[in-house]
């Protein structure tokens, strides 16, 4: 799972509707896979990102991002900055680990890069 997807993911257990984002990562195994750099896609995605959550997640894998998203979200965004973002969002894959919901403490295990989001009967 790429970090861009993690930034979009929230707990979907029934009755867990608030404070269910971001899912806390633990015991993660990270792998980097190069992909094509696409500045246009990143610019489109910027408004959708939850920046604070991304900064927190990036810290867990030892990458420091500016705590405030640079103001100029249009065309004159720094190429360097977009490249860092690309590396974090699209090239960093979580291979193993677990995600914990900050609200209901439900744990979703990740195996071979595939998070297991199945709920049991009482949670669904």
């Amino acid at each position: 799972m790429r970090l861009i997807t993690h930034n979009m993911l929230q707990c979907h257990a029934k009755n867990c509707n608030s404070n269910n984002f971001p899912l806390q990562l633990s015991q993660v195994e990270i792998v980097n896979q190069e992909t094509e750099f696409n500045p246009m896609f990143l610019r489109n995605m910027l408004p959708k990102l939850e920046w604070n959550a991304l900064v927190k997640t990036a810290l867990q894998i030892n990458v420091t991002l500016p705590t405030v998203l640079p103001e100029s979200t249009t065309d004159d965004l720094d190429e360097e900055f977009l490249k860092t973002l690309h590396g974090i969002l699209l090239e960093t894959h979580i291979l193993q680990g677990a995600m914990t919901c900050p609200n209901c403490n439900r744990v979703y295990p990740i195996k071979d890069g595939i998070p297991n989001m199945l709920l049991n009967e009482t949670e669904a």
């Binding site: 799972m1 979009m8 896609f41 998070p115």
Partner: protein, 284 residues
């Protein structure tokens, strides 16, 4: 026609054997690819733009590969671990999730620019466990999907409805969850090439023209291009119309068999005569 939904729940039906068919069978692959392309066309995404898409029931990633080719970033959900394993082996680009969409999908509001689903929706209409209620599962699925789509985004579902009631159920639940849109039936006059696409719009784009339900293909009785839907053997036998259909084991067949037996030196091959290969009259 047999319906796999009646045999077993999806996570059990799509076992290793069934999953392997999706990599070894070129016919399944080409049909899936064709439907994925058509779904992508119906999504009506802006040209030359990379979008963030959702593939519901992605299976082994056949439809995902089409999205890869069009340069989109996608996330795939499926309930069958075997199918996801095949997707891993094929090294698809998208992120995969093991998920039962009937339990809802957990993505933040406005995440996706579109969603496609190939041959998956009909599975949601089954109650495989005692706790399952198709209507409430559909409701949970459509409401969470609606939330996770950008305003004005489309969701295209290719599916095989079992009957009109099922179609109606799916549509009514989707509409109640806020979706607009309707059903597009491609090649409605063909028995096998007929395909149902449910086109849903998550609201309208502000300041733009109202979205219309796309035009279906083949309504003018044109033939489908691409994968050929025909049963060759049946057609060949039916070609001999007028006179009676020849039986497979006719006189020529018997003579050929006897010839082969003689060449091999088998003992006691009966002689050929005018009675060879004739049907015996019924005895009194």
């Amino acid at each position: 026609m047999s319906r796999p939904e009646h045999k077993a729940p999806p996570e059990i039906f799509y076992n290793d054997d069934e999953a392997r068919k999706y990599t070894s069978n070129s016919r399944i692959q080409s049909i899936q690819a064709e439907m994925a392309l058509r779904a992508l066309e119906l999504l009506n995404l802006p040209e030359n733009e990379t979008c963030f898409l959702l593939d519901i029931g992605c299976g082994s990633g056949l439809s995902g590969e089409i999205l890869d080719e069009e340069n989109h970033i996608w996330v795939g959900l499926d309930i069958s671990p075997s199918m996801l394993q095949v997707a891993l082996d094929r090294e698809v680009e998208g992120d995969l999730f093991l998920q039962d969409v009937g339990q809802g999908i957990g993505f933040r509001p406005g995440t996706f620019d579109g969603a496609i689903s190939i041959s998956a929706l009909q599975w949601l209409c089954n109650a495989d466990q005692q706790s399952h209620n198709p209507k409430s599962r559909l409701n949970r699925f459509f409401s969470t999907l609606y939330a996770s789509l950008r305003r004005g985004a489309r969701a295209i579902f290719q599916f095989y409805p079992e009957n009109d009631d099922q179609c109606e159920l799916i549509m009514s639940v989707a509409m109640r969850c806020g979706f607009e849109g309707g059903l597009v039936v491609d090649y409605p006059n063909s028995k096998k090439a007929k395909k149902y696409y449910l086109c849903l719009f998550a609201g309208q784009i502000p300041g733009r023209q109202k979205q219309q339900i796309p035009q279906a293909l083949g309504e003018d009785e044109s033939e489908p291009t691409g994968v050929v839907y025909s049963n060759q053997r049946i057609n060949e036998r039916q070609k001999v119309k007028g006179k009676q259909r020849r039986s497979v084991k006719d006189k020529d067949w018997v003579l050929r068999k006897k010839e082969v037996a003689r060449m091999r030196g088998n003992k006691e091959v009966p002689l050929d005569s005018k009675y060879t290969g004739r049907k015996r009259k019924p005895k009194f």
